[in-house]
């Protein structure tokens, strides 16, 4: 079959990204022709400021060299502006007479700078700030002239002013609004920004209204800027940065509807002509024309799937945030950062050290943030803002950011710019700042997901996410924006974990295949990420009905031991409450000798780990030890750590060991979204470290205190006080009900701390503590689920353990 013809007008970032996405999924569908008015291939427009500032060069910011177009069979017309679209004959005409017929047309013409309508705006030396030609003109002017005026103290204007200043010019910024970047900053942050730019040598005329640009009579070049009040400032170069306008003239002349941009649907098709698509700054989606890279790339992805005739995905708009690319200045803003009627603002202001943070809260939700000087928590605030969850329970800690407590793995760094290339950013995967920068540059990465995929940085525990985002912004000019509100479970589906849990419950689904059918999974049998989640959701929602599928479990839960780096396994038998006996220890010692187990180690959970067991020995090891499975390999109850307690300890107020043993016997074999650890201490000295457990219990003279959501892992999280009860029975009932709610509603691989952060501790308290009937019902459902659950080490048939896995095949 003959290929269809796709023509793209405009050769910028949004358009070319669309082609890249399209080529990924349907490489052979179209014969592609691209018209670019500029004589250059696609380059990273966001990095024009660093080029101007002399921090990067043009070749460094080229994203797709001409060879890329050739390799992908794309006909590239550079330096040819399209002048007419014939929608009847479906042909585009360029200024030089080149014609190209199309079946589908993609308009990605971007935007043009708004030139202030004042006399003299067409003089020589008056330019906008939009492309590499403008940048080169500015660099050239800086070598010959002294005085520059930048009109507009917004993002672009300040970046231009900073660059010109670094190139040796005396720069005045003219700004009509009462403070700088008034659309992104409040007055205080705007003032701090102005102060630090003045310190660097910029001059400002705030509130000045430009009346005319005056020519030098001899040369015809601009000489000065005159204001309404009659004053003048000298200017050999005037940069207009007072805003941009979507570039829609060509499309409008072809009869396409434009209102603040070409009006497009959620599938990025123009409302006038379904054969014509528009993406990027020239497109208006639901009345908004986006100018930041993340929303544009989101559009590109959606547009590509429709061009590829997959017909999936819709663009639903993006929330955006801002970041200034002036080296050494950190600012971040998002949402309604001004506040006002009905809003509260939490403010931290330290002008001496140049730090200002303002968080705007309305109806217990974070609705805006404006950060100056310390932006490492920007992404966290942005996440809270997008999720729109109640922050009432963390209000007192909100200002201190997500990492205010014990972040491990990157030496407490919070300013990526201050780090050396060799410094480790991601402690999990050992990724240095230098290798992240290199990957971003070499592979043209823009988003956090890109960087995670290619470098693994921030892909494991995520505690370095803020740093990685700072590096992306500094290196590629990406931004925090976009990220759809609902995160898809994995690449197999657009549904979120929440959607899937709800569907399984509502539709009473019992098998993975049925979930995938009901929710139109894109893959025939899922992937290694969604299958374990689905399996857990089924068995936790419909215990005794849904059947466990071992092939959808991670190897540890399939072999009931923990795989090690060399392919051997570790075996950890259960020791109730951390107590053991001489005969247990003797059996363990005998097993270590008999199976020549290389390493024996005491764990942090008060039991004994046998490391380096061969898979074929697992069954025999379990049998010979004769102790229950410790589930040390599973997303399930691990240990209940205890201190000695009142039975021996001279300080003990409660029998913590007995309480721990009782809890462990009641809760073992309990699968959960993630591992679950408990601890019981007999007095507030807290020797069992109850403060960093999913459920931590501390005995006091008058009863027991319960803490939840603690975590001693990646990010040390202190448990939050949940309640105080008098009796051991209540400890049991509350702990069980809390964990059952987590089992029913937590998302797979979400620890209790993150589940609590997502739904809010108040909600959980209400349902477990205040609603006694519900607490009882939760406890009963937990009992029902655990009743008769097998020990996989000894009841392997009942636990559906495939025993064939332990026996290697021998060729006949």
């Amino acid at each position: 079959m003959k290929k269809m013809k796709l023509v793209m007008i405009g050769n910028g970032m949004a358009g070319v990204r669309t082609l890249e996405e399209l080529l990924k999924i349907a490489p052979d569908l179209y014969e592609i022709t691209v018209f670019g008015a500029e004589p250059h291939p696609n380059y990273n427009r966001i990095l024009l400021s660093p080029v101007l500032a002399g921090e990067q060069t043009f070749p460094q910011i080229v994203l797709n060299p001409p060879a890329w177009y050739a390799d992908n069979g794309i006909t590239l017309h550079l330096g040819k502006a399209v002048t007419r679209i014939d929608r009847v004959k479906r042909v585009v005409h360029a200024a030089d007479g080149t014609q190209a017929p199309y079946d589908r047309l993609l308009i990605a013409t971007g935007s043009t700078p708004f030139m202030l309508p004042v006399p003299g705006n067409d003089l020589e030396g008056v330019i906008g700030y939009r492309d590499i030609a403008d940048t080169e003109a500015m660099i050239d002017a800086a070598t010959k002239y002294r005085h520059a005026v930048v009109i507009g103290g917004g993002l672009l204007g300040l970046e231009a002013a900073n660059g010109l200043m670094l190139r040796g010019m005396k720069v005045t910024v003219v700004h009509i609004a009462p403070w700088l970047m008034e659309r992104q900053l409040d007055d205080v942050a705007g003032g701090l920004l102005r102060k630090s730019l003045v310190d660097r040598g910029l001059d400002f005329l705030i509130g000045a209204q430009t009346e005319a640009l005056l020519p030098d009579e001899a040369t015809g070049r601009v000489r000065a800027v005159r204001f309404k009040d009659g004053t003048e400032v000298p200017a050999d170069l005037v940069v207009m940065a007072a805003g941009i306008r979507p570039n829609t003239a060509l499309a409008e002349s072809a009869g396409l509807l434009a209102q603040r941009g070409l009006v497009v649907t959620d599938t990025l098709q123009t409302v006038t002509d379904a054969r014509i698509y528009a993406v990027g700054e020239c497109a208006a989606h639901r009345g908004v024309a986006y100018g930041l890279v993340a929303p544009l790339f989101e559009q590109a992805k959606v547009c590509a799937t429709h061009l590829a005739e997959f017909g999936i995905g819709r663009y639903l708009g993006s929330q955006v945030s801002t970041k200034l690319k002036v080296t050494g200045i950190d600012l971040f803003s998002a949402g309604d950062f001004m506040g006002g009627e009905g809003c509260d603002a939490i403010v931290l202001s330290d002008p001496q050290s140049g730090v200002y943070k303002k968080l705007v809260i309305k109806d217990d939700k974070l609705v805006g943030a404006c950060l100056y000087g310390d932006t490492v928590d920007g992404s966290w605030y942005f996440k809270l803002l997008r999720e729109g969850r109640s922050v009432s329970d963390i209000r007192d800690r909100l200002m201190w950011g997500e990492s205010s407590l014990g972040d491990a793995g990157h030496q407490g760094q919070n300013k990526a710019a201050a780090m050396a290339d060799a410094d480790e950013v991601c402690g999990c995967n050992g990724v240095s700042k230098g290798s992240i920068c290199k990957a971003i540059k070499d592979k043209g990465l823009f988003t956090l997901d890109d960087v995670r995929k290619h470098t693994k940085a921030s892909a494991s525990c995520g505690s370095c996410t803020g740093l990685v985002e700072q590096i992306i912004m500094a290196t590629a000019g990406g931004d925090y924006s976009a990220a759809p509100k609902k995160k898809a479970m994995c690449g197999c589906t657009d549904h979120s974990h929440g959607d899937v849990r709800e569907a399984i419950r509502k539709l009473h689904i019992l098998t993975i295949a049925d979930v995938q059918r009901a929710l139109s999974w894109r893959t025939p049998d899922g992937c290694s990420s969604c299958r374990p989640a689905l399996n857990y959701y089924l068995i936790s929602t419909w215990p005794k009905e849904a059947r466990d599928d071992p092939q959808s479990r991670y190897i540890n839960e399939r072999s009931h031991a923990n795989i090690q780096k060399d392919g051997t396994y570790s075996v950890i038998p259960r020791m109730w409450g951390g107590e053991t006996t001489a005969s247990e220890l003797r059996r363990i010692a005998d097993v270590v000798d008999k199976y020549q187990i290389p390493t024996v180690k005491v764990t942090g959970g008060q039991r004994i780990d046998l490391l380096g067991v061969k898979k074929e020995d697992l069954h025999d090891v379990w049998r010979d030890i004769g102790m229950p499975s410790g589930h040390a390999y599973a997303k399930a109850l691990r240990t209940v750590k205890t201190c000695v307690g009142s039975e021996w300890c001279r300080f003990g107020t409660q029998d913590s060991t007995q309480m721990g043993k009782d809890l462990e016997r009641a809760l073992w074999r309990m699968y959960a979204p993630h591992k679950v650890k408990l601890a019981v201490s007999g007095c507030p000295r807290n020797c069992a470290e109850s403060g960093i457990k999913d459920v931590g219990i501390i005995g006091v003279d008058s009863g027991w205190e319960l803490y939840v959501g603690g975590n001693g892992g990646i990010k040390t999280e202190a448990g939050q006080f949940f309640c105080k009860v008098r009796t051991a029975e209540e400890v049991m009932g509350v702990s069980g009900a809390f964990l059952q709610l987590y089992r029913e509603e937590g998302w797979y691989l979400e620890r209790t701390v993150h589940w609590i952060a997502r739904v809010g501790l108040d909600t959980i308290k209400q349902r477990v503590l205040d609603d006694l009937d519900n607490r009882k019902a939760l406890w009963e459902r937990l009992q029902f689920a655990l009743d008769g659950e097998p020990d996989p080490w000894f009841e392997s048939d009942k636990a559906s353990v495939d025993k064939r896995q332990f026996i290697p095949l021998i060729p006949a």
Binding site: Q551, Y554, I563
Partner: protein, 133 residues
Amino acid sequence: MNDWKKICRVDDIPVLGARRVRRAAGADVAVFRTADDRVFALLDRCPHKGGPLSQGIVFGEHVACPLHNWAISLVDGEARAPDIGCATRFAVRVDAGVVSLLAHELATVATQDSPGEAEALAAARKVIAIASA
């Protein structure tokens, strides 16, 4: 040359699962079974860090390595982008529900139990670095 060696029945391999085939020398060979009962064989070593692929989750025509979740194609052994590496393949024959592998491949292919390609590369680089230091 017809030197197919019987290994097991297709039914001896779990659907969306794998078994390990022990050899006289060299690392095990993993035989995989897809949802539609096709059978593939790869050296039981991930090209990344030598993880036992037989212990991974099988989905579509891929297996996810249990150590670091690289997705390895059962068809050609290639790691899914952006990861780069290739697991050694073995020819498979399924005849009347019986799975066979080639005796000469079992006897000769990758019989020296070596670390993963990536590790070997890293080791080689280290040697070069030391040599040039």
